[in-house]
Amino acid sequence: MIEDPKIRALLNDISHRDKIKDYLLVIYGQFNQDILVSAIKLIEKKLVLEKFPANVITKTKIICTEMLQNITKHKQEDTGILPYFIVGTNDKTLNILSGNIITESSKTIIESKLNEYIKINKGDFRSYYVEAFKNSVLSNKGNAGLGLLEIVYRSNQNVKFKMQDVKDGYFSFDLDVVVNEKATGS
């Protein structure tokens, strides 16, 4: 029984929208590097139990790492709106969902990148990825600006996102990633 009305409403919404039947992992609240690694371990264990192919498990771990690191790096705690991260399955797909609050400047960058990645032809995406990866620069803070690109590449562009104005220049950023068809592997 989930007592928090916010997370109950969120799960209800996701169940309805993505037809999620089984929730493998739900995190709502604080995010940091330790939670990230623990979450990935837990997801791996659950996917092994669910008999997902090894390459799908690896793909999922890489995507989850990027999504969780995005939340950890860009969280805006002073808004009082907490981020979430969910992994669930339905009959055919494995879905990874995240939501967090971002600033207006982040919104502009993320929106522009995702719209660009999603519209690239599937057949051209690998060479786009390689070129972008080659030309990226690792900053002193350790950012290469490749997180979203990695998510889109690993999910074969199965990415949807939504951004909404929440308050005072802050926006909610909901990212839905479909990893793969459960039965077919990569």
Partner: protein, 118 residues
Amino acid sequence: MKNLIIESTIGTPKVEFDIKAGSLKITGICTPENPKQFFEPIMSTLNDFQGTGKPLTIEIFLEYFNSGSSKALLNLFLETAKTANETNIHWLSEDEELKDAGIILEEISGLKFKYIDI
């Protein structure tokens, strides 16, 4: 010149740079918050090692990694490509997804990788 040993932590791999043997092994999970900072001692030891002119074997066996670490690995490979020293790169992987990451790094770096399926 000293060997470099970095023990693994919850989100970072074990690193073993054996100068005498000409061997660099990176093993485990690689999701540091700041990959540039994590790879700095490896790059520094590599720069010192390159002066010896000895061949180097790099063995990478990662369970998974973040995109920043992938870029840091590329920088490491590109650094080895700057010298005429012989470099052998062994990319160990448990599945096609991880092997693909190696193939992309091989493609960009222009170095020849040896793939070992585990």
